[in-house]
Symmetry: C2
Subunit: 128 residues, 2 copies
Amino acid sequence: MPPRPCCDALSTWLEPGTLRALGDPSRATILLRLAGADGPQTVGQLAAGLPVDMSVVSRHLKVLRDVGVVTAERRGREIRHRLDCADLVHMLRNLADALEACCELAPAAPVPLAATTGTTPTTREDPA
Amino acid sequence: MPPRPCCDALSTWLEPGTLRALGDPSRATILLRLAGADGPQTVGQLAAGLPVDMSVVSRHLKVLRDVGVVTAERRGREIRHRLDCADLVHMLRNLADALEACCELAPAAPVPLAATTGTTPTTREDPA
DNA sequence: GACATCCTTGCGTCTCCATGCAAGTTTCAC
DNA sequence: GTGAAACTTGCATGGAGACGCAAGGATGTC
């Protein structure tokens, strides 16, 4: 089978490393706290609200830094962490686009007639 | 700290289970093959091009079905698998939007004016 | 019915990783 | 210098999961 353009894009943007980093519940909680905080957070601040040791939080933050989702800046004794969403948002949107393109090209059943895949099933709905 | 709207959305769309399912290299390969194929693929077809046992592919497909990324349809002896991107694309886009909103609200540097690092900020209503 | 094909599941193994504790490193205060 | 605070890292442990093999359904063919 010839390679498809959508497949190239998909292989580019489907990054198991980044997705796995986001796929851990503890790291997801840390991301949520970083997102909900009023500014950069220290390791101690993040660990204070979590039921795990500070060393665990430190290691999770390293994983998140390694995939570029979090950046850190030394400030005296403290190290202030903040979300760095730009690359991640870019990746997620490109991944979504690539998936959508692939699914539009490969419908469920082999199209028997000129059945256009007209309905774009992008149900936009957000929580309250 | 008070919850922010973007944080609510983020906690809604940051699904560790789905992200973890996508975060395995073998499963990513399976997804790529499903995306690049010309139509629904059987377990045997998918396993044929992978260096793992068919039972492994079968289990990976079950994981992908459980998170709604892949659907299966029995066809005689065979079970035809295909990508089911709609929900995943929806999730990825909402996750990207939520992340972007959070990062716009929490810039790198803390707010200079009248924002002492105390418990001052109570639910700043965001423009977005 | 018997048999083959396609796939799933039970089981044992092995690797990875999340975690906690303790020790080490870096920075600031004195 | 000494000491404290804020993190990081080394080490051990427990659990989850990825894998292969073999046995067990499910379905079609004869």
